[in-house]
């Protein structure tokens, strides 16, 4: 019973915060001269619905008239997408967010409020963008192949299977050690991790921008960009291969990356909540001194957490390049995926299942508001609503306090802690 109540509270608070965020957001929608309900219908349909969704109920169940028989068929909306579905695009956007949010969670769970995911993400991405074309070139060079199209099938498949893995591993490696710097400074010199990660982010962004505009620049295109990655390094989206006739994807570049992100979450859950080392890290967050008395090396726990966190962010960057963008374009590093990950981790309150859903909600709101722009409302509405939702979620403890206070006033508890009128005394 108690457990059920706890679970209910955990679910209801984010939902309440979302509703409150939407409610306050509707003031701004109204200021823009649009009916809030209409605008929100569009927002959610564009973010989470199929192409012919035009009411909130269409998000769950759609009635479609069969063209041949004229019969009306009922579909569960997320699976219906004969003309395309926004969920595909939403999941594409959610993939890096899930990974960076997981990265943030690992760091938080070891008591490190690291916000360095942005820098690690950028570094991981640049590693992938560079190796994505450079590594295959080297392999072709070793085998003396002039034109990649003439490569033998065996070599092609061998490369296709190994190169993405190598690249992702290296990107994760680079991200991990970049994140390690902040952990090391914290452990050895007690440098505030927030401050050091802010600076490390700035350094990484400048450095990646330099690489992009300098040595890695492919052509004299207006916007600086790297060379496109080789086909063997590409994590091919499903709708480009065996699911090419499924319209549901709506052009979403959804591939193995999503499964890597989901799997990373499961593995992380096992590591954090079912292994000794994860326990050590959680203990470090709970109470450093207590953990130390218990014989846990908190320094090692922190460094391990930072390494894992950085590896996940670096992996996120490499998946975004290998699976979605296929080349790095100027402005990529300013996308703020790392910060979004921090915010999602905060919203999810360090629960991994919640991260999946909130990342999807987050990307769906972004996506929906981008398409809203075709109406009268700027796409910035999405960002404002997200900010409001975050604020309301963060007010949670205040709300709880308020509820307790009201409850106490309505029904004063008859507990022994309340001072009694005439002190009972036998003497």
């Amino acid at each position: 019973m108690k457990r059920l109540q706890g679970a209910l509270e955990n679910v209801s608070i984010p939902i309440l915060a979302t509703l409150l965020g939407l409610l306050v957001g509707s003031i701004f929608v109204g200021a823009a001269g649009v009916q809030p309900i209409e605008a929100y219908t569009r927002l959610f349909c564009e973010g989470f619905g199929s192409t012919d969704c035009d009411s909130f109920s269409d998000l769950i169940i759609v009635d479609i008239e069969d063209e041949d028989t004229g019969e009306i068929v009922r579909y569960f909306a997320p699976f219906y997408g004969d003309k395309g579905h926004s969920l595909g695009l939403g999941l594409e956007r959610a993939t890096p967010l899930i990974l960076t949010a997981l990265a943030a969670t690992v760091a938080f769970k070891a008591g490190m409020f690291s916000i360095g995911m942005d820098g690690q993400f950028a570094l991981g991405a640049v590693v992938a963008a560079f190796l994505g074309y450079w590594l295959p070139q080297q392999v072709y060079g070793v085998f003396g192949i002039e034109d990649p199209d003439t490569a033998g099938r065996v070599l092609f498949w061998a490369m296709r299977l190994t190169i993405p893995i190598i690249i992702m591993a290296l990107a994760a490696f680079v991200g991990a050690w970049y994140s390690w710097i902040a952990g090391y400074l914290k452990v050895k010199l007690n440098v505030n991790e927030l401050i050091s990660t802010i600076i490390l982010n700035a350094i990484a962004v400048q450095f990646v921008t330099y690489l992009l505009n300098g040595p890695l620049r492919a052509d004299m295109n207006n916007v600086a960009r790297t060379e496109r990655i080789d086909d063997t390094a590409w994590l091919i989206p499903f709708n480009r291969t065996f699911l090419s006739d499924v319209n549901w994807f709506n052009g979403a570049r959804l591939g193995i990356g999503l499964f890597i992100a989901l799997l990373a979450g499961v593995l992380l859950w096992y590591y954090m909540w079912r292994s000794t080392r994860g326990y050590e890290q959680r203990m470090t967050q709970g109470s450093k001194l207590f953990a130390r008395f218990g014989g846990i090396s908190t320094d090692r726990a922190i460094l391990r957490a930072m390494l894992i966190s950085g590896a996940l962010s670096g992996l996120a960057g490499s998946i975004q390049i290998l699976g979605v963008e296929r080349r790095m374009v100027d402005g990529f590093v300013l996308s703020g995926t790392g910060f979004d990950g921090v915010l999602i981790a905060v919203l999810a309150r360090e629960s991994i299942v919640a991260i999946y859903f909130i990342a999807l909600l987050y990307s769906g709101l972004q996506l929906g508001s981008i398409n809203l722009q075709f109406g009268d409302i700027p796409r910035q509405l999405g960002g404002m609503i997200i900010a409001l939702i975050i604020l309301f979620t963060a007010m949670e403890s205040y709300f709880r306090e308020l509820i307790t206070r009201v409850r106490v006033r309505l029904m004063p508890p008859a507990s022994p802690s309340t001072p009694q009128e005439n002190p009972a005394g036998g003497d």
Binding site: A32, L189, I199, Y210, L343, P378, Q380, A387
Partner: protein, 366 residues
């Protein structure tokens, strides 16, 4: 290493500062005057922003929302002046009103920030990130909804701040180019360095701020209203950040661009960290950061130099990380030094005591 740094911290500090000043002087003589002028202009938002950051930090609140407050200031300064239907012959609104409005708007946001943090008890970092996100989106939202423009808000009615030339100084060869010919906010920022310094070290309020930042409980126990002091400090910090933002929109371009602060608020925070939250070092650090930014643009323009601008701009960031490490080493070093001195002194006393008890003989067991 640790001990060494701790023992020679004073000479190291003086040496570092001298080296910095020499470097600054060399650069001033080597670089063309236009670069010096532009670097001082670039440093202005950093000066005001870092003052805002250090004021909050000194009151014990790490203010990560500087970026959002600056952006709001930049936006408000422009919309106060924006009169698209103004006939061409009419005089536009004095831009100083824009600066004032930006300061007030920043102050209001700072106050809201303080209330949300101190009264509603929202997590500081989450609050700051959410506010930044909100302001970044809300400014563009209103620009589109209210004024129906995309990306850039510019109009002839938005006039930039006039350049102030100082009568006598401008005729002196080098000094003239360095000190004369900027707009109001630049001089205001220099003044503010002195004002904030005076407030912090010469007034009751400043002492209270420092006391609160040093140890909240101790400050409370001597009767300082901690919440009030922090709210004041954050409001003041917001005002400074707002004015810093108005420099970006009115002092340079006379227009508002989408997300025009472009991370300057975060850099201002770094400046404050580099200066260990002291106003006068923050001023020189800002100059250093401004110099790096303008040199970055300069080397990009000049054909003969092949130095990538991003690397030049990265340099002060790396230097800040280095400074952070050095400061931490110093703190850790003095700790080690203190511990060792204590152990030595205590050991000596213990020996004395032992000698007194045993009468000079070592206790061997008989």
């Amino acid at each position: 290493m640790l001990e060494w740094i701790a023992r020679y911290q004073r000479p190291l500090q003086i040496g570092g500062t001298t080296l910095g000043i020499i470097l600054l002087l060399v650069l001033i003589t080597v670089l063309p005057p236009s670069v010096i002028q532009s670097s001082i202009r670039f440093s202005t938002p950093f000066i005001l922003g870092s003052l805002a950051a250090l004021l909050a930090s000194r009151a014990g609140v790490l203010n990560l929302a500087i970026e959002g407050k600056m952006l709001l200031g930049a936006f408000i300064a422009v919309i106060v002046l924006y009169r698209p239907d103004l006939p061409p012959e009419a005089t536009p609104v004095n831009p100083l009103w824009g600066v004032l409005a930006a300061g007030i708007a920043g102050g209001v946001l700072g106050f809201i920030f303080a209330v949300l943090y101190l009264q509603i008890r929202i997590n500081l970092i989450v609050l700051a990130l959410a506010l930044n996100l909100f302001v970044a989106n809300a400014t563009v939202f209103f620009m589109r909804v209210r004024f129906d423009v995309f990306g850039t808000l510019a109009d002839p009615s938005i006039t930039g701040l006039p350049t102030i030339t100082i009568p006598l100084i401008q005729d002196i060869p080098v000094v003239g180019t360095v000190f004369s010919g900027y707009n109001f906010i630049v001089y205001l920022s220099w003044l503010m360095v002195a004002v904030i310094w005076a407030v912090m070290y010469r007034t009751r309020f400043g002492r209270h701020i420092r006391a609160v930042g040093e140890n909240k409980e101790a400050a409370e126990s001597v009767g300082i209203n901690v919440t009030q002091v922090q709210i004041f400090a954050l409001t003041l910090s917001g005002m400074l950040a707002g004015v810093a933002g108005s420099f970006l929109s009115l002092g340079v371009l006379s227009q508002f661009l989408e997300n025009m602060t472009a991370g300057r608020g975060w850099i201002a925070l770094t400046v404050a960290i580099f200066a260990i939250n002291r106003p006068i070092p923050a001023f020189f650090t800002s100059l250093f950061f401004g110099l790096a930014e303008s040199v970055g643009l300069y080397v990009d323009r000049v054909e003969a130099i092949t130095l990538p601008p991003n690397l030049v701009q990265m340099f002060p960031q790396v230097a800040t990380l280095g400074a952070l490490v050095l400061v931490a080493l110093r703190i850790r070093g003095s700790e080690v030094l203190r511990r060792r001195t204590f152990a030595r002194d205590f050991g000596k006393q213990l020996d004395d005591l032992k000698n007194a008890v045993t009468g000079g003989k070592t206790a061997t067991g008989d």
